[in-house]
Symmetry: C2
Subunit: 109 residues, 2 copies
């Protein structure tokens, strides 16, 4: 991932509502959750919600699956993978431990 899109991803998650949306989708899992349900849970007006969902979709962090009249949104982890890899590889200095405590194991098992 190049720096350019990394900043875009970070900006996409750098908003209270969008971060909440993404976390909710992560909690919800594969099946997803439809737009108005998200709006109810997070207290967002339909138009506002659509705006943020479009933003998150545009950068690839979430995806929507239409089913009947509903659109079920779910998190797309591939992009988050890339973002975490980018942050780990480019925003931490060599030996410095920027990794979460539960994943500090190094060396061959």
């Amino acid at each position: 991932m190049e720096t350019l899109s990394a900043a875009e991803l970070l900006a996409a998650l750098g908003h209270e509502s969008r971060l909440s949306i993404f976390r909710l989708l992560v909690e919800t899992g594969e099946e997803g959750i439809n737009a108005s349900a998200i709006g109810e849970k997070l207290g967002l007006a339909p138009a506002t919600l659509s705006f943020h969902l479009a933003h998150l979709s545009r950068v690839g962090l979430i995806k929507g699956r239409q089913e009947s009249r509903f659109i079920y949104y779910s998190a797309d982890y591939a992009v988050m993978d890339d973002l975490l890899a980018f942050l780990t590889n480019n925003c931490c200095q060599g030996s410095h431990a920027c990794l979460p405590k539960t994943n500090l194991l190094k060396g061959k098992p």
Copy 2:
């Protein structure tokens, strides 16, 4: 770290110039690099640079150390630690592997 400040951190890094500044400081290491040198490397006007340095300082991602007439800025990894931990713990679903490929080792060695 609570969600609120996580969004603030992500927003702080979610700008091309600030992300470039932070990466430069990570590359530079402990000794740091003074403001005007950053400005030269990244092509930022003094006032603009100060604006972004203040933003990054405010959220705790960088710190400045005055020495003579210069202020040497360096990355403060503690906050990035927290951010990565937050993203790993809250923005990835249970068993799903959102962790960078080089740190997937699990279980006792």
